[in-house]
Amino acid sequence: MSDNKKITLTIDGKTIQAESGQSIMNACDAQGIYIPRLCDSTGLVPQGSCRVCSVKVNGRVVAACTQPAEDGANIEHESDEIQGYRKDLVRMLFHEGNHLCPICEASGRCELQAMAYRFGISQATTYPYLQPVRPVDASHPDIALDNNRCILCGRCIRASRDVDGKNVFEYVGRGIHKRIGVNGDCLADTNADLNDYAMSLEVCPVGCIIRKGEGFFSPVGERQYDSDKIGSNIENHTAHSSLGKLIKVHQIDPNDAIHDDIDQSNVNEDKS
């Protein structure tokens, strides 16, 4: 992007620099400020549907993943009001689907679960549980779909369409009946392949798209969020491309001496 004019924003009272054209989320990522998110994922076009990234800009609640950062914007991020909205949205996802974390193979690497932990949500709330009973689609030899855990983030749709050049997934139904469907009677009917980006662990944030026969391979303690809370990669160290999109988190050995005085320009080189 040629237009990378520097702009200035305030987030929770703190002034940060950003590049014009960046979304609020990307601007914050680059500064080590983590805004919670579920439907947004590195490498996919932002969709702005889960609203877990809500922030208040000049008094209006917007989705940080799709809202462009504007010069002089005053952003409210971790206020009680905004955190309350985010928490409620996450809570409602648990009530809408059927989430039994202790028996779910995504447990420990699931973004929804990790988000609940980050927000300190550990108990049932007063919302009714819809307790859907949706059949598992295990027709494909390598992949299964457990729609009971789908949070309708649409990451699979975008990954299949924009990265794989296929159209394996689509939204079907409306309102409360909306769910993820596949382009055919069942997954075996589609051209889905285990090597599709859409089927990778990066895409489905929960335990809905299942890579068959791999469940529970990671022991407790070694799973992604067992020791690091979600977002800690951004809060601790970040690397961003010149596009302002978070591409790769630079893995730093805590014993490494350069760890403390790492500087943004060094990290930018590392795009391998």
Binding site: E105, V136, A138, K212, G213, G215, F216, F217, S218, V220
Partner: protein, 489 residues
């Protein structure tokens, strides 16, 4: 007046949990007991719930069945799934990790049962008021014993933590193997306490043995009846809690069958359904439903096995056999002694495994040719546990049947209850405190998984209902099978 009030308090939660454990006692015209029945709700709902789930989820899902011995279900399901993924022999690291987990589990479960639940009965006597017969009185009057119980249980839980990944509801056993080995640090943290555990488990055998010998009159009179016994045994007849063939003996010690391949269990075990109970009544086919019922669990195992392959426990087993004159022991109360011999065996096994370098191996998982059906048996703390599944070509479970140890012991528990009821109620048309206490002790000796449904220790009321000859309910009483803190304060 005060006790009366407490009784009412105990009855209250029954409406909530009614059916988890209920005894009905039936009288004839002369108020003599004709029969007593133990009613326990079983897991039929679960067997349906699991249908359609994916095969590798099963070992994790089944743990939700029981808050006290989830590891047994985890491992039984994993073994059944090994069969489905075509693995008949695990890698040494995988099998030894699973065994270590299992020994940790049997140890902690038996310790819990003995120190926390039974020692109050044994040390204060069955007729001591319910208020006294609880773990709090033990802590007060036998603090040293209580401390050992707590630390032994903790050790067993640490073994589970390091092998299963979590103290409860771990997930390490996967179809065809295990997802972790034992790190040197984990090994060393367990090794540092192992000799202490060995010492204390020997003391525990002494306590239970001495109790049995000092109360011979009671032990012999209480729930003592002839039965068949069944358990897994190793190829050479040794005690094997993790795998082996099934051996059944009759009340005189004669073999009914030996080294039976459990994968064909339906050819020699049948399940009878009775209209008044949700729980089935299994029996040995060749003996028929009247004579074919059997007992499983620690007592049965001490009766069926030829020896124990760890020296200290083997010596204790020899002592036990001496006591029972080399015939099967049939006393319900001898379960406690048997249970402590097994604790000792588990601790010896844990030590042996901790010193085995295979546990640091990295060969964790195998695959083989897929099968449609998986059957596994494991010796859980309470006895043989059967898991049977069918899985379709999409990896989804289509059929599930579990026979838990409490089910195997169903007839025996009913007989024990009838036996006690006859002694303590006949001639009266009221439920007495002594009768309640004794029924409770008889049921508890089998350590039934009443908790499977409630998931909470100490929340397991046993209701006793008395029916006259015309089947009218004439009295009810209740007792908590495990003393909960709420009940005693």
């Amino acid at each position: 007046m005060k006790t009366k009030k407490a009784r009412i308090l105990e009855i209250e939660p029954l409406t909530r949990v009614e059916g988890h454990g209920k005894v009905t006692v039936h009288l004839d015209e002369n108020n003599k007991v004709t029969e007593a029945r133990l009613h326990i709700v079983e897991f039929r709902g679960f067997e349906r719930f699991i249908q359609g789930r994916l095969l590798w989820e099963v070992p994790v899902i089944v743990q939700r069945l029981c808050g006290i011995c989830p590891v047994s279900h985890h491992l039984a399901a994993a073994k059944a799934m090994d069969m489905i993924v075509g693995v008949d022999q695990l890698t040494p690291t995988a099998e030894k990790m699973r065994r270590l987990m299992h020994y940790g589990q049997v140890m902690q479960s038996n310790v819990l049962h003995f120190f926390h639940l039974c020692s109050p009965d044994l040390l204060f006597g069955f007729s001591a008021p319910a208020k006294k017969r609880n773990i709090f009185s033990i802590i007060k009057e036998f603090p040293d014993l209580a401390k050992k119980g707590v630390l032994m249980r903790k050790f067993g839980q640490e073994v589970i933590l390091h092998t299963a990944g979590k103290k409860i509801h771990g997930n390490s056993a996967i179809p065809g193997g295990i997802n972790k080995n034992l790190s040197i640090a984990e090994r060393d943290s367990l090794l540092k306490d192992i000799d202490q555990m060995l010492e204390w488990s020997q003391e525990a055998v002494d306590i239970s043995k001495n109790y049995t010998l000092e109360h011979l009159g009671l032990v012999e009179a209480f729930g003592n009846f002839k039965s068949n016994h069944m358990s897994l045994v190793r190829e050479d007849g040794a005690l094997d809690l993790y795998d082996g063939g099934l051996r059944a003996i009759d009340a005189s010690g004669n073999l009914i069958f030996d080294h039976m391949d459990y994968r064909n269990f339906d050819q020699f075990i049948m399940e009878e359904v009775k209209p008044w109970s949700y729980m089935k009544f299994p029996f040995i086919k060749s003996r028929g439903n009247l004579d074919g019922w059997y007992r499983v669990g620690p007592l049965a195992r001490m009766n069926t096995i030829s020896f124990i392959d760890t020296p200290l426990a083997n010596a204790r087993h020899a002592e036990f056999r001496e006591f029972s004159k080399h015939k099967p022991a049939n006393m319900t109360l001898a379960y406690h002694w048997a249970r402590m011999i097994e604790v000792l065996h588990c601790v010896e096994k844990i030590k042996e495994l901790l010193l085995d370098p295979d546990l640091q191996g990295s060969d964790l998982k195998l695959t083989g040719e897929r099968r449609e059906e998986g059957i596994a048996v494991i010796e859980a703390p309470r006895g043989s546990l059967f898991h049977h599944y069918k899985v379709n070509e999409n990896d989804q479970v289509t059929y599930c049947n579990l026979i838990v140890s409490t089910t195997h012991n169903n007839t025996a528990m009913n007989l024990a209850v009838t036996d006690v009821a006859k002694k303590y109620i006949s001639g009266q048309s009221r439920i007495t405190e002594a009768m309640l206490n004794h029924i409770e002790v008889a049921v508890r000796a089998y350590d039934p998984c009443l908790s499977c449904a409630t998931h909470a220790l100490g929340q397991m009321p046993l209701v006793v209902e008395l029916f006259d000859a015309d089947n009218n309910l004439i009295d009810t009483g209740s007792q908590f099978v495990n003393k909960s803190p709420i009940q005693t304060t």
